[in-house]
């Protein structure tokens, strides 16, 4: 239903833009992959379902001409953040907004079906049926969604030019966003240290989290790989892994839009976004700032107040 409307909108906007970025079916029914549409026939390949987890807004800063992009509510925050930082020209982007009730974590489904090959996937309202050689299994989307969906505040895109369905409101409490961070804060210093070291020890430094991150706009000139300055070495040690994750977290201070791409692509299932969420929580407290919500805002690290109301001098 919504897919039909999406195709119609794509055909309607295509004459005005160079490319339309959307999702299509991947190599099997459980996989969805981006499609760059340049002709009306291609628009029929488009799909929209709960598998469309990838944040397509990430492609925008590298586009030279006018493009259209399909975004979910969470993805639209990426666009707002790009606008705040001057990384895109809003006049060169047509935003097709899709109200979303939650996506599926492919990894969670694969785990639940024992990594069997998938023959068919069908969606009914709020649940997904996966067919494998050994039978069919039905999951509620709420049970196999990534953690970002359990506390989603923006099911409807914040900025859009066209909307594929009626806007929906969030039914999740605002406090739930940082519940996982608050839980960790309740632990002792040693427990937290042990937790993070054991998590980061799994890192294989594939840098997939950085490559997938929409706000990591340095990409090929990332200081994790430059020789000058030589911030981290090729040495296989926990210190270097920790160092890499600190680079990622500190360079996203007050910029992370919590789209969850880093955790989605991590092959080692490291909670990569935790450090960034913690910084966001502090930004909210210190500067009442949430990344990717208001295009008129300025990221807190790009500016200052002569008298900071909430920063007190530390005593020794």
């Amino acid at each position: 239903m919504s897919t039909q409307k999406l195709k119609e909108i794509i055909k309607q906007v295509l004459p005005d833009v160079e490319t339309v970025i959307c999702w299509q079916e991947g190599f099997d029914k459980l996989n969805v992959t981006p499609i760059f549409i340049t002709s009306p026939e291609q628009a029929d390949k488009v799909v929209w379902n709960a598998l469309c987890a990838q944040n397509l807004a990430s492609y925008l800063p590298s586009q030279k001409k006018k493009v259209a992009v399909a975004v979910k509510g969470c993805d639209s925050r990426t666009i707002v953040q790009y606008m705040q930082e001057g990384l895109i020209d809003r006049n060169n982007v047509v935003i097709i907004g899709i109200p979303c009730k939650g996506v599926i974590s492919k990894k969670k489904v694969q785990k639940a079906i024992g990594n069997e090959p998938v023959e068919d996937v069908t969606f009914t309202d709020g649940s997904v049926k996966v067919k494998t050689p050994s039978g069919e299994k039905t999951f509620a989307i709420a049970d196999v969604c990534p953690s970002k969906c359990t506390s989603c505040q923006f099911p409807t895109p914040i900025v859009y030019d066209q909307l594929t369905a009626d806007a929906i409101q969030s039914d999740k409490p605002a406090e739930s966003v940082y519940a996982d961070v608050a839980e960790l804060e309740g632990k002792t210093l040693e427990e937290r240290r042990a937790y993070f070291l054991s998590q980061f020890d799994k890192c294989i430094r594939c840098y997939a989290c950085r490559n997938a991150c929409p706000m990591c706009v340095c990409q090929d000139s990332c200081i994790a790989e430059t020789r000058d300055p030589h911030w981290i070495t090729q040495k296989l040690s926990l210190d270097e892994k920790l160092m890499f994750h600190m680079i990622h977290a500190l360079h996203l201070a007050g910029r992370c839009v919590e789209c969850g791409e880093c955790e989605r692509v991590c092959p080692m299932e490291i909670p990569v976004a935790k450090l960034k969420k913690k910084i966001n929580k502090e930004m909210k407290e210190l500067f009442d700032y949430t990344p990717g919500v208001n295009p008129e805002d300025k990221p807190p690290m790009y500016t200052f107040n002569v008298d900071e109301a909430k920063i007190k001098e530390h005593k020794l």
Binding site: L189, R192, R193, L250, L275, K278, E313, H314, L316
Partner: protein, 138 residues
Amino acid sequence: MSEVAPKELRIVGFLCNWCSYGGADTAGVGRFKQPTDLRIIRVPCSGRVDPMFVVRALITGADGVLVSGCHPRDCHYSDGNFYARRRLEMLKRLLPFLGIDDKRFHYTWVSASEGAKWQQVVTDFTKQVHALGPMHQK
């Protein structure tokens, strides 16, 4: 035997060229007694201090890191320390989340004429880090 001085720890200090470095100099010229654990790195401005400097120092062997610049509104480059204040405050709140005691990291403002204050800062911070002991077990 008389009491043995405790083993020296490694504390890295990032000092801005215009105020705190001058303040440390004033303390030296005034012959104020200070602990010798601090290794000073001179930077053009506290705004030059990337939070990564602090993290790198702590991960690769420092037991404590001190950052000091001009007082707010007194920056030689007018607004460097305003940016620094936001970044360092963010770091100060992030470190304990990662399991690093935030007492190992301190940022403060010392002007070139405040030799006595500099002595106080170094003495107190060194004491604070010594109370926590070495960060890296050998």
